[in-house]
Amino acid sequence: MPRVTYIQADGQAQEINLEAGSSLMQGAVDNMIDGIVAECGGSCSCATCHCYIDADWVDKIEPAGEMETDLLDCVSEPKDNSRLSCQVKVTDSLDGLVVHLPATQF
């Protein structure tokens, strides 16, 4: 099971073992991680599961699709490494992944 570290805006970190194949969003929701709201439950509709992929990992993740890219333009404080966590599937090759959470989803 790939291990993912979620780091809150205030620096607090939580390490979680995720089921390969599940999404970064689901992992956060399943483990009650603050900062991921995920209103739409993962259908790429609400942009309330915004996160930043740690710089060391950006190249190892499939790029965002068109819908996601458009939504990411609208989140508060978008950056080059912004992603919607519901659209990032966790695989064994992402073991050790580090994700930073924004201060707000709205």
């Binding site: 009650m32 603050d34 259908s43 509709s45 819908m67 333009d73």
Partner: protein, 409 residues
């Protein structure tokens, strides 16, 4: 708060799945019990007419939270039991199986049930309403390549179901009693768009037609309409709206007005009983009227407010309603409520393409947005609604002008 305080949540819904763990996060140390008349852990309902029906997701994949979370948060879940009555004076809940439970805080997240129609043949095998996982599981048994489905009701549920059944290779007819589909919820332009897309996808939509009977020999065979037409069917799905589940609240003497009336802190007329989600009627400060919403957003946000209230941390509820509907390759996102609009401004080619935004206006201000495959127009539309400024219809309609530029800084 005393460690032995008891919180009971009735209904294992979106709101309940949000409320119970949030109570723990906010420091509730008492017991938490969830009572459900279903046999499943809380699950996402929207996929029932979409990915679940089409086979893209299974029952486990639509759970809102895994079972382990409820254990971890020490949340007791009793399934397959219906709450019968509330004794407010003694703060007791009676269950239909005769059991009695004491509560300090009670939360009604009872949701809504389908509106039923009273025509001959609705009890035949192969005739369904679609509200819960059990319905969807049963419906799946009647699906199959080239089989015929008739859907009664051209609202979002009916149209999403049509889309899912087409994916499974079924021949689909939608019967709508009103002059057009989506009559209650969209402008004629948007309804015409969906009618065109469904036609392009091979669904037959018949408006202005009333289903008057369903016939078959044990199993459904056809649907008859008021004008003498008849449609063959291996499967009939009825989707004509929902009714809030208020019976328990009514019996308890709580204030009801098109839903269980709650204040901005999710409290009913009894301060120890709260309610959240589809079953409630609440005042919305943005639209300045009471609303009863059928929406995931409302269930989650109101449940979060209820959790705060229970933990003694009052945070008023004020949220812009939003909804979504997935059909075929169309992602519709709806921001706000369009009721009372006087003008519709369309951005993009609504007659020929599969991407547009419709802005519902009143007195020059934006009330609501329907955005199809245009997440930016949805997201920035939300902000424009909340800003409440006068907007120029020509600018709204100008597709070369990003909506972002209309937002006042």
């Amino acid at each position: 708060m005393a460690a032995k305080s008891r919180c009971i949540i009735i209904g294992a819904s979106h709101a309940a799945a949000q409320l119970a763990p949030t109570l723990r996060q906010q420091g509730w140390t008492g017991s938490i019990s969830m009572i459900s008349n279903e046999y499943f852990l809380p699950y996402h309902r929207p996929p029932l007419s979409k990915d679940y029906l089409a086979g893209a997701k299974n029952a486990e994949q639509i759970l809102i939270r895994p079972a382990a979370i409820y254990n971890k948060c020490d949340i007791g879940i009793t399934m397959g039991v219906t709450a019968a009555t509330i004794d407010r004076r003694n703060k007791q809940l009676q269950l239909e199986d005769g059991m009695t439970m004491d509560y300090d805080k009670l939360v009604l997240t009872t949701g809504a049930r389908v509106r039923k129609i009273d025509i001959p043949g609705v009890d035949l095998d192969g005739v369904f309403y679609l509200r819960d996982l059990n319905d969807a599981q049963q419906i799946k048994l009647f699906t199959g390549d080239n089989k015929r489905a008739v859907i009664i009701g051209g609202g979002y549920i009916g149209l999403e179901t049509a889309s899912a059944l087409r994916k499974l290779g079924m021949q689909v007819t939608v019967l709508e009693a009103m002059p057009r589909i989506l009559q209650r919820v969209t402008a004629p332009e948007v309804a015409a768009f969906y009618a065109r897309i469904h036609k392009e996808e091979g669904v037959e939509i018949v408006a202005d037609v009333q289903a008057i009977s369903i016939s078959g020999d044990k199993q459904v065979q056809s649907v008859q309409c008021h004008n003498g037409t008849e449609y063959k069917a291996d499967l009939v799905i009825i989707g004509v709206g929902v009714i809030p589940n208020t019976a328990l609240a009514e019996q308890a003497g709580l204030t009801i007005d098109n839903g269980i009336v709650v204040d901005e802190y999710a409290r009913t007329s009894d301060e120890n009983i709260l309610a959240a989600g589809d079953c409630t009627s609440h005042y919305n400060p943005i639209y300045q009227r009471h609303l009863r919403l059928e929406s995931v957003q409302n269930a989650l946000d109101q449940a979060t407010v209820a959790a705060s209230t229970i933990c003694g941390n009052l945070k008023p509820y004020s949220a812009l309603p939003w909804f979504w509907s997935d059909q075929y390759d169309l992602k519709l996102q709806i921001a706000g409520l369009s009721q009372g609009y006087t003008d519709v401004v369309v951005r993009g080619d609504i007659e020929g393409s599969r991407s547009f935004a419709a802005f519902y206006m009143r007195e020059g201000k934006l009330l609501a947005v329907d955005a199809v495959n245009r997440p930016q127009d949805f997201m920035f539309g939300k902000r424009l609604i909340l800003q409440g400024n006068q907007l120029d219809p020509e600018q709204l309609a100008d597709d070369s002008l990003p909506l972002k530029t209309l937002i006042a800084s």
